[in-house]
Symmetry: C2
Subunit: 212 residues, 2 copies
DNA sequence: AAATAGCTCCGACTTGAGGCGGAGCTAAAA
DNA sequence: TTTTAGCTCCGCCTCAAGTCGGAGCTATTT
């Protein structure tokens, strides 16, 4: 494989694209065929630019990187997409890799690391940043979420508890009786292994169950 | 003022520093005298590099930008520090400007915007990104934090409520009587204008009162 | 000296929260 | 067909939660 590797950069920070270009221009094997400043723009232009490898940021104003990755791969599964982002939350890493991305790097990476990741991606090999990998295995070791043991109805009730509603308000919201609400609440408390509705609400917030 | 403006770049992303350097090298008036990859490093080296303007990222592994800004300005208040970050949360903007930073830009800014901000900073003029400014005025319009009306003791009690403790647990934790706890709780509820301890705990989480 | 604010505590009272046990209904699984 | 799981509802019970009004103490302010 002596040809150039065609690379496309997707990032909403102009200076990051500039910096990456400076990084990669030192490597004769790599050719930057284009840039995009948002996920949606990337989806629009990648078929024209025909890159083999795509460096993709995650958080962007107009169409995030995960969405863009899914859409691009659904149109052309042969594309190798490398996530290149600033963060390594569980919330970010899992969906990103599920979306079909080949590698996951952090923006603190050196130019050598990025170049190597591009080369490996070209051959179909995955590169995961060390810190991200740690989070990944930590995430797998995590307790089999007691939240998932809740029924649909119980999750609805928990959501309303986390909004600060009392039992009668929940009852009128869900068009059911107060007694039924109490049944659900009791079930929720025992499944989450908490003592009262306040601790249930706290549980919901600490586990970011209902956004924020 | 025909001399060069001496600029220092503080960012933990190598590629961002590269990109910024590429940005600013087009402008003959600006001279980059050094870089730092963390807040603590910036504090250590700025006296040697003698920059006039410092471009400062906020979130960094080893010493965040707000801390670094405070420390640098306490040693030399004449430095002009421009915050250059990806986000514009209320939680970020206020402490950043309180720390004494002169300007607040987003990383989506163009090279012209950054160059202009550096020039203005040099003359002591502030530049705030439009989106950030919006958040700012929205923040000022916000209710004059009812949380601040709580007494020290009440804040302690609220913290324990947000940890899921009941009244008797709070009593033993603070070495006071249950009746006293109830008094504090009632006072907290009326000051925060919420109905019960669950809503108080939710209030604490939504306003990020006790980290996370 | 007097007023104010904060922390402490008390008794009495009302009510919502939650546990326990039981039950009917429906839909899916064994 | 029988069993199981989920949603619904009931009564009874206990107790924590929260309100109201009152009070003593200290430190600061006026």
């Amino acid at each position: 494989m002596n040809e150039n590797i065609k690379v496309m950069i997707v990032d909403d920070h102009d200076m990051v694209r500039k910096g990456l270009t400076a990084y990669l221009s030192t490597e004769s094997e790599i050719e930057i065929v284009g840039e995009a400043s948002s996920g949606n723009e990337a989806v629009r232009v990648f078929e024209t630019l025909k890159p083999e490898v795509i460096l993709m940021d995650l958080i962007m104003e107009d169409g995030d990187g995960i969405d863009a990755t899914k859409q691009i791969l659904s149109k052309d599964p042969s594309k190798k997409i490398i996530i290149l982002t600033s963060f390594y939350d569980d919330e970010q890493v899992f969906p990103a890799l599920e979306s079909g991305a080949m590698s996951y790097l952090l923006k603190t990476a050196s130019s050598e690391e990025i170049i190597r990741a591009i080369q490996k991606a070209h051959y179909g090999k995955t590169v995961i940043d060390g810190k991200v990998a740690q989070k990944l295995v930590a995430g797998l070791h995590k307790h089999p979420e007691p939240f998932d043991r809740l029924t649909v109805r119980e999750k609805e009730v928990l959501k309303l508890i986390a909004e600060g509603k009392n039992n009668s308000e929940i009852a009128t919201t869900l068009f059911i009786g107060i007694k039924t609400v109490k049944t659900h609440v009791s079930s929720i408390l025992s499944k989450l292994e908490v003592a009262d509705r306040t601790q249930a609400a706290i549980y919901a917030y600490q586990n970011h169950l209902f956004n924020e």
